[in-house]
């Protein structure tokens, strides 16, 4: 009998081009996503006078620098941003790669566009010059983020040198409570295992609570694997995955679909397969979460309070906590629901898919935003779908802004930012100092909690807010 293997090992083995005696492995890359931030990779390629080896497997979409208040590149006021988007289009043209530009009707954040167009599929290896590439593992792919030198390497060779990461399984069993979404699951996981808890590992998320998530929720969970230090996150493909993939633009059709499906069903980890590291999180106990500090591991349930660093025995961690509280202008013991917000951001590759917008809209419906609130769909396709369901109307009726797709306020580089000292409730993935703009104070939450903060003006328990509403 063959040795039992984890899904990660199966994915790894299927992509080995060659392995050196020192353990370094050359892996083949099935899909390479790039974006407007990948320009340094293109520059390296041009400087070395090389071509993209497999333009047919290379896909580009502008997202990081794309302002969310314009529809065409020519409308971009900021010269630098406009040039960066023009440069991506020119590079795509020059190297013959797929480009989902602003005029394609398919533009959006790479990690939203890839899965929804069927570029991302189970069983593939996928890389992107962006750390949240782990998102795509939600479909049962081996997907990881890389740096600019590696982007250039993949362009030129369609391969990457890798050391095999260790395999970790995070099992979340149980039934998620009302008002609890994929975002709360991953924040609870990071709170438990720390921001370095999965370092050096490829993580497989398993258990009934994970199985019960829809694809959007699974992508949210895998997306933030990097915030736990993990190299890649993945979830075994199942009927939910197959139903999601079927019929998408770049997904296999007819005979090829059948063949793919038969292969994908062999991917889940074998029962006897062993993991290097295991963690277990109780799904029943997860509440809606809010971060209070400047690392995603600084997280508490919305019913909780800002912790007191004095209770932290480790001096370095205590100092880090004190610095975080100082930056966030929070006092130990303050209840999270007493913390007022200045701005709300619903968007990013973590939480800007259709299901995320539905969760937020259910809370926003017939209520009024108390603070400026940006709702930024993850892609043009999500935007269209939301509009066909009337979600845009719910948001605008509540006084929220309905924008064009892009990374927006997740990262302070496209015009959507926090002002110094402003506090946000944000569905993005990083609460690092200055992430959303210099001096900005970011609290990470799920989409329903973000909408709840918007209509309350402070953090609020979405479960209480929605009581009596179905």
């Amino acid at each position: 009998m063959a040795t039992p293997r984890t899904m990660f090992e199966k994915l790894w083995d299927a992509h080995v081009v060659l392995q050196r005696d020192d353990g370094q492995t050359l892996l083949y890359i099935d899909r390479h996503l790039c974006h407007d931030g990948s320009r340094q990779g293109f520059t390296k390629l041009k400087n070395e006078n090389r071509k993209v080896r497999r333009p047919d497997l290379t896909f580009a979409s502008p997202d990081h620098y794309r302002p969310t208040d314009i529809k065409a590149v020519s409308e971009i006021q900021d010269q630098k941003m406009r040039e960066i988007l023009e440069e991506l289009a020119a590079n795509a043209d020059r190297f013959g790669i797929h480009h989902f530009g602003l005029d394609s009707g398919m533009d959006g954040i790479a990690h939203v566009v890839g899965p929804e167009l069927g570029v991302t599929l189970p069983g593939i290896s996928l890389v992107c010059g962006d750390s949240h590439t782990a998102t795509h593992g939600a479909l049962g792919a081996f997907a990881f983020g890389i740096g600019a030198s590696e982007v250039a390497h993949v362009f030129a060779t369609q391969t990457l040198w890798q050391r095999k990461p260790k395999a970790m399984r995070i099992t979340v069993d149980g039934k998620l409570g009302f008002g609890v979404s994929g975002k709360d699951v991953i924040l609870a996981i990071i709170g438990q295992i720390s921001a370095a808890g999965a370092t050096g590992h490829a993580v497989e998320y398993a258990g009934s609570a994970i199985r019960g998530l829809d694809m959007e929720g699974r992508m949210t969970v895998c997306n933030m694997t990097i915030e736990a230090g993990g190299r890649a996150g993945m979830i075994a493909p199942d009927e939910t995955t197959f139903a999601y993939c079927e019929g998408r633009m770049f997904a296999p059709k007819e005979d090829k679909w059948d063949k793919a499906l038969a292969y994908w069903k062999t991917l889940p980890s074998d029962d006897e397969a062993g993991f290097d590291t295991e963690a277990v999180v109780d799904g029943n106990a997860i509440a809606p979460m809010v971060t209070w500090g400047t690392s995603p591991e600084n997280v508490v349930p919305v019913t909780g309070a800002v912790p007191d660093p004095a209770n932290e025995p480790d001096p370095v961690r205590r100092a880090t906590q004190e610095r975080a509280l100082d930056y966030m202008a929070l006092t130990p013991g303050t209840r999270m629901t007493d913390v007022a917000v200045d701005k709300v951001f619903i968007g990013s590759c973590t939480n800007a898919r259709i299901e995320d917008l539905r969760l937020a809209a259910a809370v926003a419906k017939d209520r009024c935003a108390q603070v400026r609130t940006l709702v930024v769909p993850g892609s043009q396709q999500v935007k269209r779908e939301a509009e066909s369901e009337g979600l845009d109307k719910i948001f605008t009726d509540a006084g929220m802004e309905w924008r064009e797709p892009g990374c927006s306020m997740c990262v302070g580089m496209n015009g959507d930012i926090l002002q110094p000292g402003e506090r946000s409730a944000s569905t993005s993935n990083r609460n690092f100092m200055g992430r959303q703009g210099e001096g900005g104070r970011t609290h990470l939450v799920g989409p329903a909690m973000a909408a709840a903060a918007s209509v309350s003006g402070h953090f609020a328990d979405v479960r209480t807010l929605m009581e009596g509403k179905s």
Partner: protein, 202 residues
Amino acid sequence: MEAFTKWTAKAAPIDAANVDTDQIVPAPFLSRIRTEGYEGLLFYRVRRNADGSMDPDFILNQDAFKDAGILVADRNFGCGSSRENAAWTLWDNGIRSVIAPSFGDIHYNNEMNNGMVPVMLSAEICADLRQQLHDNPGAEITVDLENNVVVAPDGKPHVFSIPEFNRYRLLNGLDDVSFTLESETEIAAYEAKRKQEADWLY
């Protein structure tokens, strides 16, 4: 890429865990191309007060540490964004090696792809090194890649390991792509096989 054999320099202690790449170089600078340089941008925000003036308490603003060529940090250094600009910023500000108990995976590779040596030593050793640097501001550390050894200010050697593949490339300053293309036969063979066995991909 510049070859790295041995590097002796003043070292600075960075007493924080989870130093993310947004701290090393903030997003608004990412649109700079490589040749524009990243000098003066290292820890751009963290080293400043809210009003924009330099924070004298920040370690790299202090005379004894401001021209450090090595950083000794705590766990999970370089976590977060994949921006290679973080490695460039360290390099352009004279840092050739970072010593920490653990690194963000992508940043770890980015450092090595830019001729830097990320050194992993235990949390205890890193804490001890930081303490020595606080006690003797301006003290030097040596990172010897030929012998896989770090020499502490107190003269004690600490053996570290780094993937042999990367060590070889660093010692010789080898470019990755040309090296990989020596395996063209294997890559082409894999592509042919993949096309046959997994035609659903194309």
